[in-house]
């Protein structure tokens, strides 16, 4: 479909090769696909050429020598074989192309997601929705690209030159005509490309505008109904649609010129060759057999080129997806350190003057905070002030752009967090993010999994469940109630409580709670406060990300964070770094 659908950003500015070398180098399935398709392309070329020569021979024998095709069973059989081989080659090629596409997509997706996860929060923040779109629907664009476009591209690199060569051997004049018209294809394509430049961007912008206006009308529909005014905007919907249609047709007018030129040159070449051959035959300057063969072969020279043109969109989308995927894979993840993390039961975590670049400045900015062992430390600040980011720096998930993050052991030796072997830090940490992340299994399994091996007796589980206010859930559904991925089957508040109970059971000396009361009502908020006190009583260190005052009340220490906003120009400079 040539109409741009909303949501698909197409970067038409850059020129990319139609086959990304990184795809061939790194994805075995794609590499094998290209090799196999090239080989099958050669087979198809051979079949096409053989068909033309055999058909011409049969025709010439019949007309010139008055020999019935039935008298040349070998030629007939060969013709059937040639046509059959072509069909078979197409079958094998398409069958394997689909499988190759499936394998290549699977390979790239797992690598992309695995790598993005290891790149840390910065990679996610920088790309966000783009990355998830790429990993889910974006990579699927590889299928039409590998199944439709790449084979045609390779056919145009095999069938076109080989048929041209055969024509040259049969009749140099016809080959000459083809060779003169062929370069006109890229020439006209470039000219039309010049003509359409900017138009697709304009269309895309227009599409986005249409879409946001459409969104507005859809969002407002319940409001209009409540006012009894829902029957005016459909005119507006039509007006918006008509405007969009006109601008789409305006840009298609030029875009279709390219297919017109391809068709025109292809058929024009056939016409010129036919007339040239006809005129030479009239004067007896040419044999019939090569004339017929050339007439069959000449459209085949252009066919793959026309197909490549028809698959143009599959190619741009596919190439863009491949390129975006390898751009992400090309980023190097922050290196793991080598030092072992000191015992967090006695060590202090320090951030000194930490700043992290955000979209419009630094968040946090110049953050100083000292988390002493066995205390409850709250990180407060308005939303967007970098509270969660500060925690990520503290846990070695992000390397700060300014200042330093260190862990100071009981004996006073300080180590930069980025030099730590992360696993040695994380194994001592229990992190509860805003949206609880839970393993799957029964309620019992999910809870017991948090406790160290063998220590999860029923008594402890009961106590933790009660402390987290989970006892009512268990009473209602039983210990064997299943918890799905992402905690499905439980409400958000219940998931939060389950995560809190897990924090209680886990032996980790450092517990980080990111907005633990966000999804809980007032009564259960008390429960969280009690739970924090319990954790402190057990001698654990608790870091709270909070903006609610009641949470701040239980903290031994509160650090207020503030971001620094800069104007767009300065932000751009900051981004250059």
């Amino acid at each position: 479909m040539d109409q741009a659908t909303p949501g698909t950003g197409r970067h038409s500015g850059e020129r990319r090769p139609p086959l990304d070398p990184r795809l061939l180098r790194e994805v075995a399935a794609a590499r094998r696909h290209v090799v196999r398709t090239t080989a099958l392309g050669l087979v198809q070329s051979g079949a096409v050429i053989a068909t033309a020569l055999l058909l011409a021979r049969l025709g010439a024998d019949l007309l010139v020598d008055r020999r019935s095709p039935l008298d040349s069973p070998a030629l007939l059989a060969a013709l059937v074989v040639a046509l059959g081989v072509r069909a078979l080659a197409v079958l094998v090629e398409q069958r394997t192309a689909h499988q190759a596409a499936t394998a290549a997509i699977a390979d790239l997706r797992s690598r992309l997601i695995g790598h993005a996860a290891r790149l840390g929060p910065r990679a996610g923040a920088g790309r966000g929705a783009d990355l998830t779109t790429l990993a889910t629907t974006g990579l699927e664009k590889l299928r039409p690209y590998l199944v439709g476009y790449v084979p045609q591209l390779l056919l145009s690199a095999t069938v076109t030159p080989l048929t041209l060569l055969t024509i040259l051997l049969l009749d140099p004049t016809s080959a000459g005509i083809a060779v003169i018209t062929l370069p006109l294809v890229p020439l006209f394509m470039i000219l039309i490309g010049r003509l359409t430049v900017g138009r697709s961007e304009a269309l895309l912008a227009d599409t986005r505008t249409l879409w946001s206006q459409m969104l507005d009308l859809v969002d407002g529909l319940p409001t209009l109904r409540a006012l009894g005014r829902e029957r005016g905007p459909e005119k507006m919907v039509r007006a918006l649609g008509d405007r969009h249609r006109r601008s789409t047709m305006g840009s298609l007018r030029y875009a279709f010129l390219s297919s017109m030129v391809l068709e025109l040159l292809g058929t024009l070449c056939v016409a010129l060759v036919a007339v040239a051959i006809g005129l030479r035959l009239v004067y007896g300057d040419m044999e019939l057999a090569p004339a017929l063969a050339v007439l069959v072969l000449i459209p085949e020279v252009y066919l793959p080129l026309r197909q490549v043109g028809a698959q143009f969109h599959a190619s741009t989308d596919g190439v863009a997806a491949v390129s975006a995927a390898f751009d992400v894979l090309g980023e190097s993840a922050p290196a793991d350190g080598t030092a072992a993390c000191p015992d967090l039961r006695t060590a202090t975590l320090r951030l000194d003057g930490v700043g992290v670049h955000s979209r419009d400045g630094l968040a946090p900015h110049d953050a100083d905070l000292v988390v002493r062992p066995g205390t409850v430390h709250a990180i407060a600040g308005a939303s967007g002030s970098g509270k969660t980011t500060a925690v990520q720096v503290m846990l070695g998930l992000l390397v700060p752009d300014e200042g330093s993050a260190r862990v100071v052991a009981a004996d006073g030796t300080a180590t930069a967090i980025q030099d730590l072997r992360r696993e040695s830090l994380w194994s001592q940490t229990m992190l509860l993010p805003q949206r609880p992340v839970l393993p799957t299994g029964s309620l019992r399994e999910v809870l017991a999994e948090a406790a160290p091996h063998g220590s999860a007796d029923q008594n402890r589980l009961d106590r933790a469940a009660r402390a987290a206010g989970l006892d009512r859930v268990i009473a209602a559904r039983g210990w064997d109630a299943p918890v799905g991925r992402g905690g499905s089957g439980l409400s958000l508040g219940e998931r939060q409580r389950l995560a809190l109970a897990r924090a209680l059971l886990a032996p980790a000396p450092l517990v980080v709670l990111d907005e633990p009361t966000a999804h809980l009502d007032g009564a259960t908020e008390d429960l969280v406060l009690d739970l924090v006190r319990t954790l402190r009583a057990e001698g654990r260190t608790v870091v709270l990300v909070a903006h609610r005052s009641r949470l701040l009340d239980v903290a031994d220490e509160v650090t207020q964070l503030s971001p620094m906003h800069v104007g767009p120009d300065e932000a751009a400079e900051g981004a250059v770094r």
């Binding site: 019949l62 039509r238 007339v275 007439l295």
Partner: protein
């Protein structure tokens, strides 16, 4: 058009054809609902026959050009070999050259006309879908997720347009071209024409069948395994940080790999039928070529045919299959569109009265900024206010979620009632039900003695409007945002209404006053300003009955209480006209004027009706 559709679904042996009943229960089998929803959506495209015909003719001209070029070139070359007078060939030579050019030109025309008709169809479809959504009664609209709705109006509507481009036009063209090809060959040799017909029909049936199957398998795989895969992938990306710290990333990556391989296995089942579809056309070509070559032998040696005819017989079979090559793509498009049509039907609900051009008069959408048009409702000549009453009313989203039980309420003409209650007690649900936006779970709501369910929605809305808490502020001007409530409202009336709700300073501060754009790209407004703007809608509308949901939230107490008092005082005409009735939901119990009837909703669904007590010192404290 329906001929093409049925020709592409030859796999269905059922001859029942058109099932007359337009409405079908949501529980009916997939295949049935898929077919009828496709038909319904295709009708909503409102494709004009003349434009479709023009597109099809252009497409036929394109393919006929290249077929005629191949035929004429073959005739020319073989006739030339007999060395006739060159002058006898002149017409053919000119013809060949002309055909060499015409194909490209017709192709351009064909692409333009086809896309134009498809895009027009999509515009009509979107408009019709929007109307259907607007007509949907009950709470269904609020239940469809916004993202889903946009996906339906966007991608799924597009699939219907693609049906025109990839299936309807190529399908019609393939039928016509089959006839053209067979009729061209028949005069040369009947056996060759028979072979060609057989080959074309085989190609036109086998390839689309295989492609359709492949598309169905892919669709099923997407439905069954893609969501699991997507959820798994998103899960890893969303929770990456926590998973790494918890040391569970690898475990989740394995889970993702399992989901991926399930998906791969499901989707690979489509690979073979899809490849068979692609290979079936070169395969049936064997039949056509062989038949033609053998027929040519007979015709030349025994039938006395000319050399030109023999040339055509030998060479044409290779050029006769262009039209049917488009059919596999058409069949898979049909499968995709059918799935999209089923989703669309699901979103807009079962068949509603046929949409037609709306006849309600209205101001034309000037430069795309007008949001609402008709000016009929809320015009100056005010009818007498009817009585709004609830009888044994239970309100809620469904039988299991009843929020208000067994309510009897009477909103007499000119009366003002306040509704109070804790958060989550169902005050908004009650307002929606009283306004007829939500079906009562039990009991009834009556307007002037008639059950709301028996009244046309227009008639209800001419009397009673609701202003809900989450009402939308459109991304257009302040003026247009008030015209949403009443189409014919003048700038002066707008200014008056905005002054009445205390927004005059705000409007004065706006760069272009009433013509300032609000929303994403214009001035954004604060919560309190938004509240009062919504209230101003009620003021300009001045409906006989106004139901207001928390009109003063997000306002400071002094301002809010003043507005509330003016809304609830039946003798105060500064906001709502004297004689109009109103029901106002509020949490500011202390600001309700004494003597006002107060409906207090209790958490369990119970309620009590009382009169606001006279208040003492507090009353004077707010200026």
């Amino acid at each position: 058009m329906s001929a093409v559709l049925s020709s592409n679904e030859n796999n269905s042996s059922s001859g029942s054809g058109s099932s007359g009943s337009g409405s079908n229960a949501g529980t009916s089998s997939d295949a049935v609902s898929g077919r009828s929803s496709l038909r319904r959506m295709v009708e909503l495209l409102e494709i004009p026959r003349s434009r479709l015909l023009a597109a099809v003719l252009a497409a036929i001209a394109t393919l006929a050009s290249s077929f005629a070029l191949a035929a004429l070139a073959a005739w020319l070359v073989t006739t030339a070999w007999t060395m006739p007078n060159v002058l006898d060939l002149t017409v053919a030579v000119v013809g060949v050259r002309a055909l060499g050019i015409s194909r490209g030109v017709f192709r351009w025309l064909d692409r333009m006309l086809t896309h134009d008709v498809a895009l027009r169809g999509v515009v009509s479809l979107r408009t019709n879908l929007y109307s259907a959504l607007a007509r949907r009664r009950g709470d269904t609209l609020s239940r469809v997720r916004r993202g889903d709705l946009l996906a339906r109006l966007g991608d799924d509507a597009q699939e219907l347009g693609d049906l025109v481009i990839r299936a309807i036009v190529p399908g019609l063209v393939a039928v016509v071209m089959t006839v053209v090809v067979v009729l061209t060959i028949a005069p040369l040799s009947l056996p060759a024409a028979a072979c060609m017909l057989l080959a074309l029909v085989l190609a036109g049936v086998l390839a689309p069948l295989a492609a359709h199957r492949a598309a169905r398998l892919t669709e099923t795989a997407v439905v069954e395994t893609r969501s699991e895969l997507t959820a798994s992938g998103l899960g890893v990306l969303d929770d990456a940080t926590a998973l790494r710290v918890q040391g569970r990333l690898d475990e989740r990556m394995e889970e993702l790999a399992r989901a991926q391989s399930d998906h791969d296995a499901a989707i690979d089942r489509a690979a073979l039928p899809s490849a068979l579809a692609a290979a079936s056309i070169p395969a049936v070509m064997i039949l056509a070529v062989l038949g033609s070559v053998l027929a040519a032998g007979g015709a030349w040696l025994h039938g006395g045919a000319g050399a030109g005819a023999i040339g055509m017989l030998v060479l044409l079979p290779l050029s006769s299959f262009e039209a049917v090559t488009a059919l596999p793509a058409a069949a898979s498009q049909l499968a995709r569109t059918r799935a999209a049509a089923a989703r669309l039907e699901d979103a807009v609900g079962p068949d509603s009265p046929t949409p037609g051009p709306d006849t309600t008069g209205g101001t034309e959408a000037a430069d795309g900024t007008a949001v609402a048009a008709p000016g009929g409702a809320g015009s100056a000549g005010r009818p007498t206010t009817p009585r709004l009453s609830a009888h044994g009313l239970s309100a809620g989203y469904g039988r299991d979620a009843v929020r208000v039980h067994d309510l009897d309420l009477d909103l007499a003409p000119g009366e003002r009632i306040a509704v109070t209650g804790g958060s989550g007690t169902g005050k908004t649900t009650l307002v929606q039900t009283l306004a007829g936006l939500l079906e009562p779970v039990a009991g009834s709501v009556r307007l002037g003695g008639d059950d709301l369910r028996d009244l046309p929605e227009d008639a209800v809305r001419a009397q009673a409007i609701a202003l809900l808490e989450d009402a939308h502020v459109f991304a257009t001007t302040v003026h247009e945002n008030l015209r949403v409530a009443r189409g014919d409202v003048s700038a002066t009336q707008c200014a008056d209404a905005l002054r009445a709700v205390g927004l005059e300073d705000w409007v004065d501060s706006l760069p272009r006053g009433l013509d300032t754009m609000l929303g994403p790209d214009g001035t954004t407004i604060s919560g309190g300003e938004r509240r009062r703007l919504l209230l101003a809608r009620a003021v300009v509308r001045a409906a006989p009955i106004t139901l207001l949901d928390e009109p003063t939230e997000h306002l400071d107490a002094a301002r809010g209480d003043d507005l509330l008092r003016r809304l609830l005082d039946p003798a105060d005409g500064s906001l709502l006209p004297v004689g109009a009735s109103a029901l106002v939901v509020t949490h500011r119990v202390e600001a309700i004027p004494e003597g006002t009837t107060v409906l207090h909703i209790l958490p369990g669904g119970g309620h009590e009706l009382q009169r606001a007590e006279p208040r003492t010192a507090e009353h004077g404290s707010t200026p």
